[in-house]
Symmetry: C2
Subunit: 187 residues, 2 copies
Amino acid sequence: MRTLKYAILGLLNKKPMTGYDIGKEFNNKDLAEFWTAKHSQIYPELKKLLDEELIVYQIEISGEILEKKRYSITEKGKEAFLNWLKKDEPMEPTPKDIFRLRMYFSNNLDGATRLYLLDRQLIQHRDRLAHLNKNKERYDDIPPLESEEFGDYLVLSGAISREEATIQWLENFIAYCKNQDRNLSSL
Amino acid sequence: MRTLKYAILGLLNKKPMTGYDIGKEFNNKDLAEFWTAKHSQIYPELKKLLDEELIVYQIEISGEILEKKRYSITEKGKEAFLNWLKKDEPMEPTPKDIFRLRMYFSNNLDGATRLYLLDRQLIQHRDRLAHLNKNKERYDDIPPLESEEFGDYLVLSGAISREEATIQWLENFIAYCKNQDRNLSSL
DNA sequence: CCTTCCATGTAACTTGTTACATGATTTG
DNA sequence: CAAATCATGTAACAAGTTACATGGAAGG
């Protein structure tokens, strides 16, 4: 489906960047909540996009020697990107989740181990949620729809509601485990 | 990480199955909410598990000619599975989501297209939620923790809360779009 | 000077999808 | 008897991760 291709075009459509900059967007920024890529995947993809004439680059010298390639999107690239963006694609198949797969089999665990695993997971998701909420504090208001920051705000709030749902699910599960445990030991 | 390996072991730990049966579990059942695999991935994996002596099979004749291989888990396989199941693995990196990636770039769309795409997505997620809720009706009560059906109930309720969160996010987003639109056109 | 970050790439491998290939059994 | 389902496999490709490989720039 070449999603990485369009993700890169989308970033370059905002402003010219180096491969390294793209890597940071995919790893340190809010966008990373819903899309990531390592540099080992980015550099070969940039080469492909050059071949397809969707991007061009300009060499810049940083310091004395170091050359960096600042890529920008071409008209052809913009067209391809906008075409992808406006397409009405069917919903994606549900994403995989190893922890839930494991819990699917959790009847094979003893009660203590199950609770331990659930608790560890809950802690991690709560930390993550706290971190996301802290990021959200940067916004006094919801940014205007047409602004660049709106995308960031959107993925951030999406990530927050996803975490909240996960935490809710974990808490319900834990409460049920504890409840069953109490009932059994009172026999 | 060999997750498919352990997913198959987990299923065979419940009861002996053919490759075809495993495919059905990964595609038609509740488990498919959090793990899937095509038969083209399953058959080669079964071969690997045989090599590793974690499973064995027995040939059964169905009708006159058709041979099917019913696989079962070995003691070694059970051990490997339980070992995997009880391991406390760190939280996974956040799963990718193409639609949210697209919406991250949605400031490049005109208001009508954006609303159209959001609406289409919302419809699909509502359908999916309705379908999941219908499945949940099978359960009068939460199944006991140690039962086989508990896993099914768990992934089902996880999928429901995930869909609810997504729908909430979409509805908020749509409301904000409509609101901004009204404010702009009243100028 | 030393550590962290900037910067770019390739190679080997794992995972997963789509397509190719075949044929038997069951159900209406 | 035709269609849906059962049943098992392989091949080619796409996507993604880990490891290998190199070296400059900036800041403390």
